[in-house]
Symmetry: D2
Subunit: 373 residues, 4 copies
């Protein structure tokens, strides 16, 4: 097989980001197996057809069950809201497809566990899309940590701050309804911080938590004079303990004016520190105790050198990448995993573990006690 | 009275900082009452005499009890280690002196409460030295918040990170011995974050906590081949809930490589945000929702304008201040309070409240539950 | 016509960047006319065929003369080295094609003038690719200036610093040979600073200049033991006077360690200032005198809002763009110009004017006098 | 001699800064010889007496000629406007005093040369106060360059930008009158950039220049309805060639909104780069080619370590210094020079050379040609 036929379920923003990745991976990365943009699925006939045309898909469909069952589909990519992940992923696994799913894996731990069980039972490859792992600067941080350059890790400080709910006049969309969205800032943003923590520092063993909804009622999108309750968190904070002895804080909010997409972490080890901010995605700050004392300082590394992760495929040094490149990197690694028949990372195992951490934070916030993951 | 005779008890780093403030306040601020550097107290005869000469004190003494009782001493300034604050402050209060004390006020809540009771009973003025309140950028933040420019406050993010204990070969001084130091990073650094939280956001009502000692034994200063246990925390984190509904995180560590003196806070309100970092003490970052949308962004305000707090006394705009200026500002306000007979802030009331927060964090960390302050 | 058949001459880095723009403009911008990637031209049969396949071109050719003459080609895009721009562009113009040409337009003023005469005579549309004009932050700066928000312009400070020739062991490629490259840092990098100066501030009337070649001989690429002379400049600086009375400095170098792609400008007007750095392409720094005095400061605007130039087509606020997006924006505007039959900017008129400024700087450096443009 | 009796001529801002240095040098640096603040001179009886009292001088005088002749005065410090430097310095030299003079040394080259001749003839020590040399970060840059860590120097980029004349309503004080001030931005600000260039890179051999007065008439300070011509430059730019082959740009302006005190330089050598900005005076940015390639980046060094220049005398690492500390460092080195009988730097020789560079820039701007220094 040198071509993988892809079915993409969903075509909102994440649909555009994944479509772009399939388009871009071939000219820039020349993967051993190439994705073919076979069919795009959605609920609205007109919408999905227009999107398929514009985004470059061969076909459009409104019947995901039929698509998932098609023999000429090899890979099912799920970018729908969280409450439909499980049923689609399980069906795809049963049909023997490679399953690629947007984060968070599911809206609850049991759902996530059922998804993992399904892919395991079917023996299919699976991948979870936590695209920020594959920002080159994050990958460089990983390499430095894996190479021992930070020594023993002690602190993780993860914040994912956005501002779009600051204004109480913002409508109460489905994202603010717990029955559909699962959770608020914690699941949407905090799950990224948890993934980066697990990727870079290690497994989290215990948490304390705090969750708040600052604006408790908001106008309905279609009837702005009426309001409805917000049933998810606007913001969440947590203290975390890692299995390896490191300690950390995690914070997610949608109410931090000026923080557009402030997915930031800092890690301190016994020999050095790194810091990253998604708003300056092409940079990594690094401090090394091994530098000569008089000239020690945080270095701003512009992670665009041809010897940096993924960069050889793009432009000369100093020419920065954008947000969507992280998806292209993810799809490239997925294609390579398919070519070699190995399980990519992160995958549904990570999805389950991530969900357990989020769930523990929710419980800890509710019970006002530390909770083991 | 146009001159206040000061007795300073202690002459280590804080002694130097306070001495400098007394020297500098007159030429730069021309306070209505002027401090006279009367007598410096310390335990070592040779040491205190040399220090008095160099720092500009009229006299030196090794007997603080006698000094505190002298009728020609009006103000007792205490910069000794925390375990002697209470006895000196109480004696000074009983002798009718103005009492000025370095933070943290005491090593425990009961001690702090006894100190407060003593100054109240004696009816003397008292002040606690939390010098960072009087960094001009912090004062500007306070003005903006008080003026409602940030709207309703929602988030406080306070970190005080240092690096000096990163290396496990650093000796186990008295600062790492709980019986003498009271606590570690929490009391030393975290108390600043708590003070700034209380000053800028409001009273803290409830906390969760986490404290760790990463390096459990260290070489003795005088016998480096032998080690002794470290009985204080190397690092502490907390989740906090404010009475006004805001939520926050507080972190203090002495093990963050590259963070020399990273006393940082960020506050997000419903109409804007501010951020401050002591390593760039002359700057305040400010984001205002009221700016026109296309040109919104965090402003780096170089807080050196003649209309900024305390700046008229110093240099033309753009000429920055240093660390020790914060003490000069504190002493100026103390002198003005003495001149007008009003209680300055922060004072022993703040010291007691701060101690209660620290104590609650310790208890929360120990019991693994949220604890009311 | 709803589809424009494109012939791209050249397939090195700029060929990749332009190909990407043609691929991306449709899904993200839905232009009224769509580019069709018809034929890719190059000198090596194997190379051009492999590139066409990978980059998504319908056909490959090694005969640009034949391609330019094809009736089914509507647009000729030239990304070859500068010494072949003129002959290709003139042939394309004579054949009635839209001509799109990489900067610098030519290697000399007379060449550039002949190209402009050719497109004028043929009455065809023409565009010069100075992609950085269409970085959203640069466009925002343009809007602010055009709206009078900076007042009367007084200062332009343009530096384009790179580092890749720092090491004297770097080989002496054709780029360092004046007979082929035309010039060194001045034409390659300085031409961008000149374009941004003209775009944002106005026409340059007079210049002083300084050009240096720090490393005068370098090893030959194919025979590293032998060296050849470097006949272009490693670095160039200039003082410039604008027609509107503003003054400026321009600097270009390939020998600034740490400056990967430091294309920076700062503009000061009577009411405010802006600053931009290509390494942080998504940010614009803005200072406004009209802000309330106590809170004035440079704002870091993250130019990723949906109301910022070109951003509506991409991602939600806070999700940054990369280097190649500037080409997509350029191609979008070219497509819209074709759709409406209007001359896009910058075009060959700008190319001629830019070349005259560069030529004046060279002459000023040689004669050690100010030279009128 | 263990005490040096100082006479300070002038008590405006520089008088405050020098007074502060004399006060602070003893407690912090314990120099081998100590300055005694003997007498302060000024023209207004009331003003100088009040200033002497406040700033801590033993005596006040309105007769500088008499003061300079007093046998009990050892050091004459001149902080008057530039047009009176020569007469005071020459009188002081003839009287055998150590002469310490604020920059710029004089208003013209011949004046500066006469001052140098006078101190040479008298055989007295002399020093020029270019205080920014002794910012610790600048000193660190000097050490790195002297140690060869930047390799062969190639580029100097010096800008000193301020904003205070942006508003055309600012009055036309004596500083804007050439007959009294000598020159405008060039002499006031550009002289600092020239001094740093000479200190860090080497002697300047040749210059091109450009000077502009944007606002040609301004209201009189005492009669705001009337205006008078501005006869000095608002802004000046220069291209410079160094004797060692490096090239540079220098710019000074008082019309850059947002730039409060932006005295910035960047130096690029064959092995690394440094950059400094006075608004962040405690930081030095450093890039080293010798760092491992994947982790190269500009380091932000917080120059506050006890092993950094002058820092041992102040506070623990991470506690920043302010503007006036640079004067204290200068006075410390002057005291040490007096103690050892050696000529401090910079001195009148530097003053003459600096003035020659400024004069060459003026001539180059006037004649529109490069001018040898």
């Amino acid at each position: 097989m040198t071509e993988v036929n892809v079915a993409l379920i969903g075509y909102a923003i994440m649909g555009r980001a994944h479509s772009n990745a399939y388009r871009q991976v071939v000219p820039f990365f020349a993967p051993r197996v190439r994705p073919r943009m076979k069919v795009l699925c959605g609920r609205s006939r007109g919408g999905v057809e227009e999107a398929a045309r514009r985004l470059g898909w061969d076909e459009a469909s409104t019947n995901w069950e039929a698509v998932v069952a098609r023999p000429d589909v090899h890979l099912v990519d799920i970018v729908t809201p969280g409450d439909s992940h499980a049923k689609i992923a399980i069906a795809a696994a049963r049909a023997g497809k490679v399953v690629f799913c947007e984060k968070p894996l599911a809206n609850s731990v049991p759902e996530a566990e059922r998804m993992l069980a399904a892919v395991n039972k079917a023996g299919v490859l699976h991948m979870l899309c936590h695209n920020y792992r594959r920002a080159p600067a994050v990958m460089l941080a990983k390499q430095l940590i894996a190479g021992g350059e930070l020594g023993e890790l002690r602190h993780y400080r993860g914040t994912y701050l956005q501002e779009w709910l600051t204004d109480p006049a913002r409508p109460r969309t489905w994202r603010l309804d717990k029955s559909r969205a699962g959770s608020g800032a914690l699941g949407d943003l905090g799950s990224h911080s948890v993934d980066l923590a697990r990727f870079l520092v290690g497994e989290i063993s215990e948490v304390a938590g705090h969750m708040t909804t600052f604006v408790r009622r908001r106008p309905l999108p279609d009837a702005p004079r009426r309001t409805a309750p917000v049933t998810v968190d606007d913001a969440a904070t947590a203290l975390v303990r890692f299995e390896n002895g490191a300690m950390g804080t995690i914070e997610a909010t949608r109410m931090a004016p000026g923080r557009k997409n402030h997915n930031r972490f800092e890690i301190n080890g016994s020999r050095g520190s790194v810091a990253f901010d998604l708003e300056r995605m092409n940079e990594l700050e690094l401090y090394l105790e091994s530098d000569r004392r008089a000239v020690r300082g945080f270095r701003r590394i512009l992670v665009t050198d041809t010897n940096h992760p993924f960069l050889k495929a793009w432009w000369p040094p100093g020419h920065i990448l954008g947000y969507e490149h992280t998806f292209t990197h993810t799809v490239f690694d997925l294609m390579e995993a398919i070519a070699s028949g190995t399980l990519p990372e992160p995958n549904f195992i990570d999805g389950v573990r991530n969900q357990r951490v989020l769930s523990a934070i929710e419980k800890a916030a509710r019970t006002k006690r530390w909770v083991a993951v």
